[in-house]
Amino acid sequence: MAYSDKLLDHYENPRNVGILDKDDTGVGTGLVGAPACGDVMKLQIQVDEDGIIEDAKFKTFGCGSAIASSSLVTEWVKGKTLDEAAEIKNTDIAQELALPPVKIHCSVLAEDAIKAAITDYRSKKESKSEAAE
């Protein structure tokens, strides 16, 4: 099976591998998994005061397509607002990386991960503002 150059590039030179401090209130963490293949994916975003994602990191244990999908998403979300980032669809990821049909679930996982990270950031911010009142 031939993989696209973009996919191989993200797999061989993954961008933004690493971790952010999950206890930082400006950080949202999404942790998701695909049991069928035993994959686990962590995607984190650092959000500034204006609600712009200034940094993103990921750590994925899974196949090449899962690594490439999460790597691509961290690149895409940087500089975006939360609402813009939440609009990323798995089909966009799958198309960009030309994922073969059997690997579509990897892009679904990456979409789930960014959504989970945004949800985590928002719920942290809410509980912080509640605590401040």
Binding site: V32, G33, P35, A36, C37, G38, V40, F61
Partner: protein, 213 residues
């Protein structure tokens, strides 16, 4: 008194119907791959993997019994036995052999058996099977263990993780047995997912260890 016709008692077949043999039109129990009257091989038909092999539906199975039932069936369905038969019967025997292999492969391993049993008992409740996960504790545990494995630089370090994974797998299978016997399908589904992650971890420890040697 009838003795058992194989290593294990065959499961009661009341719920499985009687069909007409395609060749001699005589009655055949649906669970039988061969016609009792004319010996013609019968199409696989719709039945679950347990029925197909003649086992009672349970997570706890005796693997020696399973092997015996499987080998008995395969012996009767070996392609050589049908070499001189009609093309139609040869084709049907292939379908039978495939269906029996499928059933055997699924029931042999605890993980695939658990997955199948959740599906069999919880159909409609878990349309995705045990393939969706929202168990954050399991994900965190998996992430930590996979990170520890990625950082392991000696075979000793890998072995610690490997032994832990094997122990966890053993405990998980024991717990699955208990939950299935209590008919707690939701709990069993959750543990099946955990078993998938544990087996994946065990596999990764093997791969990582080979790279270090």
């Amino acid at each position: 008194m009838d003795g058992p016709d194989s290593a294990a008692d065959r499961a009661p077949a009341e719920e499985v119907g009687i069909i007409a043999c395609w060749s001699c039109k005589g009655p055949v129990k649906q669970v039988n791959p061969l016609c009792e009257t004319c010996g013609a091989v019968q199409p696989p038909g719709q039945m679950d993997h347990y029925q197909r092999l003649g086992l009672a539906v349970s997570f706890d199975i005796n693997v020696a019994d399973l092997d015996q039932l499987y080998f008995d069936l395969q012996r009767h369905l070996h392609p050589d036995r049908f070499a001189t038969r009609s093309p139609r019967e040869r084709a049907i025997s292939q379908l039978q052999a495939t269906a029996i292999n499928d059933a055997y492969e699924t029931l042999k391993e605890p993980l695939t058996r658990a997955d199948y049993l959740v599906h069999l008992r919880g159909m409609g409740v878990f349309p995705e099977g045990c393939n969706l996960i929202n168990d954050q504790a399991l994900l965190m545990e998996t992430m930590e263990l996979r990170e520890a494995l990625a950082e392991a630089e000696t075979t000793d370090q890998v072995d610690v993780l490997s032994v832990r994974a094997q122990d966890d797998i053993k405990v998980c299978i024991e717990q699955l047995s208990k939950l299935f016997s209590e008919n707690d399908i939701e709990g069993a589904c959750k543990l099946t997912t955990r078993l998938k992650y544990l087996q994946k971890l065990a596999e990764e420890t093997r791969i990582h260890r080979m790279k270090l040697i």
